[in-house]
Symmetry: C2
Subunit: 383 residues, 2 copies
């Protein structure tokens, strides 16, 4: 029996289509552009508290700066996209073999390449319905037959329903821990359920963009569990964008259970896709563990402040372990986002209609937390 | 009547497949890894003349260095992937509207995204058979039904046969000018033929990675011709990797005849795919036209020297207008590549079996030209 499935997400209506663009695949006609990084007229980075994109509020480690300056003289050369030094370093710390590790310009770019190795048009992927909406864009782009399993009422991933939704035609199961936009992670038991209940003929893809925050919060190590407990195939994706303050660098990576899987992703991606800065900067960031510890600890402190502040204002924040917090603010999120933006603070709302009262705020520096909570009190009329 | 079609390219044999990786799409099982940027043990960039990847031998303009240094402080932030200043600048010089211009981490990454908007599994794409072999990888990755039209005996693209190969099911026609690995460009008449003979229900994709070199060599401006003479849809792709010495930066762009086409490519690509360095460095490079003129002129001078030197050694160089030259060296290219590599010089051979005697050498500094020609004379036994 199939579980209750909720699409959970609906694509905005498209503009009237000409019906003539037959050179475009049917599902790609009449698309809008979506640019979350766009700044409106007069809005400049330095004047705005950018708390909408789950970025780190601090620049990277000073060691990264030195590494970047050393790259200039060879910027005319293609970088080795296999990032051999970095791959060896990650291999040493994770136990994943070098040929099974690959890199892309952010894990975002890899997400589509990864899903595409299993899912062509009509191929079945099982996924939570509530997750970063780029996943919905990827399912749409690939014309995948995505079975979207409703999350639990508290927003967490319903792992029992998820694995129950696996059918004969399922090629891949997607989980995200911690998940976006909820900020919640899977427990060790939940992860074990997914690892053991996903059959060996289904590729288990675990996206861990917020891995380092989850570790700091005492979460289970998904990779170690996959290595020890899963007999079937798996992929884990991670990024340097968050805990290493390198969102602008564009470097993410995937670790796979076999070189065959890694090579399939490599063909879907591109050989010359990683910049010359990427490996040098990532190695320098790894050379400064105190700095990433500072980022993770600072994030945890501001997260507690934001969660407490939201509660004090009568909102219902979710139990985030990441560098962002989502909350039910009791009124349309779209209005709160607009009111915040008038005050020079960028936050996000949820793209899911049934969560219309939810906002998502990224952790900033302590003064950003103050500004956000003050503004929210004002907006909610409780100040 | 269909023209004579030659696949021209055959995938290397794959290792024995397990036959069990059903979670991978069938055509992606048992793939090898291919890494042209890999350096072998003991081989370091500074000790090797790297003349195999069509890179510029000089670092970028000093203005780029200053721009890059200014980026560090905001490297924790996602860059605006729409590169608004750069798009406005390119729009002003080309007349292509800003919403029709999009960016990726190198035009290489965009190639697959572009072809994917027209070609799903089984969809027909018409293409020259002789072109950069990443195209073959893309056709394979997408399971496209690629009609590969044989190039003329001299290696040039046979535009008459190409447009004749367009059928009722054709979604896209691919041309590359200048082409790689031949280095040859289409004439104005040939371009006009393609532009006018590709029906309006077929997307015409012109890849121009070596555009600036072709302009310097007096070639036709494909974009201007498309804008003035084509009534149907088109895409032009270009890059900052070659004439701006920014291969390691990873920035390419596509200009489209409509925002609908651009948005389809954007969905196939990724919002957060361009680094924070990319736009700043590209703007700085455009601010130093003397430097890119120096690169293009220096390249032309060394190209003439290489072509003359090859002829003097009894080889048959092709009529390249780019930063590389291919030539029939009268013996297996694979042997010449190996002998060059023993001498610390990296060059490439052609991946096409029927061109087994061809090598491809990228333009270097004058001393690289000297070293290459001396080594070749030695290898061919004519010194």
């Amino acid at each position: 029996m199939r579980p209750v499935i909720s699409p959970g997400w609906t694509r905005p209506a498209r503009p009237e289509m000409s019906g003539e663009a037959t050179y475009l695949r049917h599902h790609l006609r009449g698309l809008d552009n979506w640019n979350p990084t766009a700044t409106s007229a007069g809005e400049h980075l330095q004047q705005v508290r950018r708390m909408d994109l789950n970025e780190c509020p601090y620049p990277p480690s000073p060691k990264v700066q030195a590494a970047i300056e050393g790259v200039f003289a060879r910027l005319n050369r293609y970088a080795d996209g296999s990032c051999p030094e970095l791959a060896a370093r990650l291999s040493a710390t994770t136990g994943v073999r070098v040929p099974n590790i690959l890199f892309g310009p952010g894990s975002t770019q890899l997400l589509k390449c990864i899903i595409e190795i299993s899912a062509g048009p009509g191929d079945n992927v099982v996924s939570p319905s509530l997750l970063w909406h780029r996943f919905h864009g990827i399912y749409e782009a690939l014309e995948a037959d995505a079975t979207l399993v409703a999350n639990r009422p508290d927003g967490s991933i319903d792992v029992a329903q998820l694995t129950r939704a696996i059918g004969n035609r399922t090629r891949m199961l997607v989980v995200i821990t911690p998940n976006n936009p909820t900020g919640m992670m899977l427990s060790e038991d939940e992860l074990r359920h997914v690892i053991l209940q996903t059959p060996d003929n289904v590729l288990l893809f675990v996206d861990e963009a917020y891995h380092e925050f989850a570790m700091h919060a005492g979460g289970p190590d998904a990779l170690r569990m996959l290595q020890r407990e899963r007999s079937g195939p798996w992929i884990v994706s991670r990024t340097f964008s968050k805990a290493y303050a390198l969102a602008g660098l564009r470097l993410g990576y995937a670790m796979c259970s076999s070189p065959e899987i890694a090579n399939a992703v490599r063909l879907m991606s591109s050989t010359f896709v990683v910049s010359a800065f990427a490996e040098a900067a990532a190695l320098a960031a790894l050379d400064d563990p105190d700095y990433s510890t500072f980022i993770v600890e600072d994030t945890a402190r501001e997260r507690s402040r934001i969660i407490e502040g939201l509660r004090a204002l009568g909102c219902e924040p979710m139990n985030s372990v990441t560098n962002f917090v989502s909350a039910d603010v009791g009124r349309p999120g779209i209005d709160v986002v607009a009111a915040m933006r008038e005050r020079g603070i960028r936050i996000a709302r949820w793209a899911y209609p049934e969560y219309g009262n939810y906002i998502r705020v990224s952790m900033g520096a302590p003064e950003d937390t103050d500004a956000f909570l003050d503004a929210l009190a004002e907006i909610l009329g409780t100040s």
